[in-house]
């Protein structure tokens, strides 16, 4: 009698194990399917779908086998599980899309789990997931798995358990939206990159294509002292402007001035903004209040009047001459930095406030990491959203602003190879002659084209990056 009972029990356990195995395999398969679908390649091998359906069918037939050895009460549970499994498998086989398929696969798993939960305990059977939770070796490997090698989720679970036992480490989580290679290929970004690379090439090739006469390449060579501009001719591919300065030379060497002002101002703004924003956002409290009010105060200075003020106070026209060799007045660069870091600081601060409340920062604080380390290791890597977008378009904007001051004649000097300065003198000829309004087009159109293309290139890059970083807008 006892042996008959024993035999029945072994028989039941073996059938339960079959069901359990099929269900567990299906669960792993489902995880595999779901996780690969997340990685944006929707065209998974058909085999995986077919195998899932097959496993669903296996579950159903395992349940059918089980039915005979059960009490009437459990038999009813078994039958209802069978019905649910059959229906779900049938629906999954007719599913049109990935999502519908997955929903039904999870229905199968749920139904079997539900049944096992009720029945397994009663007959003293420990399910695979129970055993995994207890830390034992899953029977799956020993008992001959339905597939040859364990799937990803299985490996992940194993490593996760190993890590829990090891020393606590806090991963640097990146909340930056995933950069998708396909988005990087948008036409605007491509065009912008081409434009900017073109200017880079021009800047590098400048000594070759427009060799400087004398030691100073930032002065346009002049062939005579004639006042009137003269049209393009051999030796002067774009003609000469007022005072016989060579326009082509100014155009080419103007790229150096543009890159210098754009890159240096933007880099300095970025660094100051990062430092201020990180400190202000991380420490909060009265320090944050002071810093943010100061930021507001700086924001009250519109950039052009503020730079004009700096120019009058410290500029080359005024009181102390500080002008660098490249011809960009350092004071303009300093002013553009001093009155332009606020947007970056605000952006960084907002991001830091967002990050600071997250669990991983709390965890870092809990294990005793110090503030500078937390800022450097955890907060900083998570803050660049939008920063590079802002920086990219700022580079173009800085060049335009720099050109404004030379255009207004508030900086620069005669013959300076700077687009703004070329426009400053080109402007005198914009009226043309009574018979032809566009007579002197070559004095103002080349610098206009250079400034517009340069700022457009960087703006396109900024816009394209915005689409990559923040696909919503």
């Amino acid at each position: 009698m006892a042996s008959a009972e024993q035999g029945r029990r072994v028989e039941l356990h073996s059938r339960l194990a079959h069901l359990d195995l099929y269900c567990h395999s299906l669960r792993l398969m489902g995880q595999k399917l779901a996780s690969s679908a997340d990685e944006s390649s929707r065209d998974l091998p058909r085999v995986l779908y077919e195998r899932s359906l097959q496993l669903g069918g296996d579950c159903s037939s395992a349940l059918r086998h089980l039915r005979e050895g059960l009490d009437s009460e459990d038999r009813r549970a078994c039958e209802s599980a069978m019905d649910r499994v059959d229906m779900a498998v049938e629906r999954a086989s007719r599913a049109k899309g990935h999502t519908m398929f997955m929903v039904n696969i999870w229905r199968v798993v749920d139904a079997v789990d539900h049944f096992l939960e009720k029945v397994a305990v009663k007959y003293g059977y420990a399910t695979l997931s129970d055993r995994a939770a207890l830390g034992g070796t899953p029977a799956l490997v020993a008992g001959g798995a339905p597939f040859d090698r364990p799937f990803g989720a299985y490996e992940r679970a194993a490593t996760a358990r190993r890590e829990v036992a090891g020393p606590i480490s806090i991963p640097v989580l990146r909340t930056l939206p995933r950069w998708r290679a396909r988005r990087l290929l948008n036409p605007g970004l491509l065009l912008g990159t081409v434009l900017v690379l073109g200017f880079v090439a021009l800047a590098i090739a400048a000594p070759m294509i427009a060799p400087p006469q004398g030691d100073d390449p930032y002065t346009m060579p002049r062939s005579s002292y004639r006042v009137n501009p003269e049209p393009p001719r051999p030796g002067h591919p774009l003609g000469t402007t007022e005072g016989s300065y060579d326009i082509f030379h100014g155009l080419v060497w103007g790229t150096h001035v543009a890159f210098r002002i754009g890159l240096s101002v933007t880099a300095a703004r970025l660094i100051i903004g990062l430092a201020v924003g990180l400190v202000s956002g991380y420490y909060g409290g009265w320090l944050d209040a002071i810093i943010m009010r100061t930021t507001d105060a700086f924001l009250a200075f519109p950039i052009v009047p503020a730079t004009l003020l700096m120019l009058v106070f410290f500029g080359p026209m005024g009181l102390s001459r500080i002008a660098s060799a490249s011809g960009v007045d350092s004071i303009i660069i300093i002013a553009l930095i001093l009155f332009g870091w606020m947007q970056y600081a605000r952006l960084v601060r907002g991001n830091v406030l967002l990050e600071r409340s997250k669990q991983y920062v709390e965890a870092a604080v809990a294990i005793g990491a110090r503030a500078p380390r937390i800022i450097w290791r955890h907060v900083l890597p998570n803050t660049p959203q939008g920063l590079f977008v802002l920086a990219a378009s700022d580079i173009g904007a800085m060049v335009v602003l720099g050109a404004v001051f030379t255009f207004l004649g508030l900086s620069g000097r005669a013959g300076l190879a700077d687009w703004g300065w070329m426009l400053n003198i080109g402007r005198n000829w914009i009226i043309g002659t009574p018979t032809n309004a566009f007579q002197y087009w070559y004095t103002y159109l080349p610098p206009i084209a250079a400034i517009v293309l340069f700022s457009m290139g960087w703006n396109l890059i900024g816009d394209g990056l915005r689409d990559v970083v923040d696909p919503r807008v």
Binding site: R293, T294, D296, A297, F298, L299, A300, F301, P302, I303, V304, P305, A306, L308, L309, M310, L311, V312, F313, F314, M317, G318, L319, S393, G396, V400, A403, V404, F407, L408, G409, L410, L423, R427, I430, I431, G432, A437, F438, Y444, I448, I451, V452, S455, M456, N459, L460, D463, R472, V473
Partner: protein, 358 residues
């Protein structure tokens, strides 16, 4: 009911708190300005206080005046006292005397203000309406032709610097076609304006012409305003349209919009009641930035079109190293920006009750 009563009682404390921050900001702004001025040699700082009617002073005369100003205004005292003195002078309207304008700075600024105000008013109204309207239109037709066209246009507004646009427009519409000349008025109109029959009420030529019922002057003033107004509006318009578009798209994703649609509200009503109102909030809050951009734009545009307004006159004076004008113009623009962002914040609070909680 609850929300309604909370709404009204919370507004006043918010306004008060916001107004309390104002002196702090103004204090910090003046400190920044003063710190910059502090770097100047004492003789130049004394310039801020010397009222002189003559541009050409003999060196010893000037030295005497400087000496007197230093003694009179305590320029040899420690900086807190000097700061207080300067603040008092600014508050009481003594902004120094400009040697290039040959008049007190404040008087010079106020005298040129109508020209600038006229330009700003004329360009801002269509710019704001156009920016908000087209931004909304783009969001409504997201991904279709109107959206693409408007996005391209805003991009152009962003990438094309206003002074370059001004030069190109002048090249075409003034030099080539001869339709829209620079400056504020034609010569004959200037003569009429300054004659005895023409009464100047506001200093805004268009309004004055209307009040004097002189349509020829009105047309002339408008003709001179069109190009600079377009240039001034161009960048601002792009900024507003961009913000409006992205904020509309944000709002369109909200649950309450879905609810409004699912309860069967007509699409137009959903937009006018739920979407547009909420989408306007970020647009309002960029008011400070917009004004700051506007002030910078005015300096450039007035210079390009030879309009004798605050911006171009200040830039011209500054190219002659006119320290009083530089300081006066900075104070002027800062006050304008601070007040504008305050107004924007208060408007925001009126529009969005959630803000008052903070």
């Amino acid at each position: 009911m609850l929300a309604g009563s909370g709404k009204d009682s919370a507004l006043i404390p918010y306004v008060l708190r916001r107004l309390l921050v104002l002196p702090v900001i103004i204090f910090l702004v003046t400190i920044i300005l003063f710190a910059l001025m502090w770097q100047l040699p004492i003789g130049l700082r004394a310039r801020l206080y010397i009222p002189t009617t003559s541009r050409f002073l003999l060196p010893d005369e000037e030295a005497l005046l400087v000496e007197r100003a230093i003694r009179l205004h305590g320029l040899d005292k420690p900086w807190p006292i000097q700061y207080a003195n300067w603040l008092r002078a600014v508050a009481t309207g003594n902004w120094g005397y400009s040697p290039t304008w040959q008049q007190p700075v404040l008087e010079g600024l106020l005298q040129r203000a109508p020209a600038t105000a006229e330009l700003v008013l004329v360009s801002m109204v269509p710019c704001a309406l156009l920016g908000v309207g087209l931004g909304a239109l783009a969001a409504r037709h997201r991904g279709r032709f109107p959206d693409h066209a408007i996005r391209a246009a805003t991009f152009l507004g962003w990438a094309l610097p206003s002074f370059i646009l001004g030069l190109m427009l002048m090249n075409v519409f003034y030099a080539w076609l001869g339709w829209l000349p620079p400056e504020r008025l034609s010569v004959w109109a200037g003569v009429v304006i300054h004659s005895d029959e023409f009464r100047s009420y506001t200093g805004l030529h268009t309004v004055d012409a209307l009040l004097n019922l002189d349509l020829r002057i009105l047309w002339d003033a408008i003709r001179h305003l069109i190009l600079p107004a377009i240039c001034l509006a161009f960048a601002e318009w792009a900024l507003l349209a961009r913000i409006m578009r992205s904020s509309m798209l944000d709002v369109l994703r909200q649950d309450y919009v879905t609810t409004a649609r699912s309860k069967g509200a007509p699409e137009g009503q959903v937009f006018s009641r739920h979407v547009r109102r909420n989408a306007l909030l970020p647009v309002i809050s960029t008011g400070g930035v917009a004004v700051s951009m506007l002030v910078s734009g005015i300096v450039v545009i007035e210079s390009v079109f030879n309009i004798n307004g605050v911006g171009s006159a200040a830039a011209e004076a500054m190219s002659g190293s006119d320290v009083p004008v530089a300081v006066g113009f900075a104070v002027f623009t800062c006050v304008a920006t601070v007040v504008a962002s305050l107004v924007a914040d208060l408007l925001y609070a009126v529009a969005d009750p959630r803000v008052r909680l903070y």
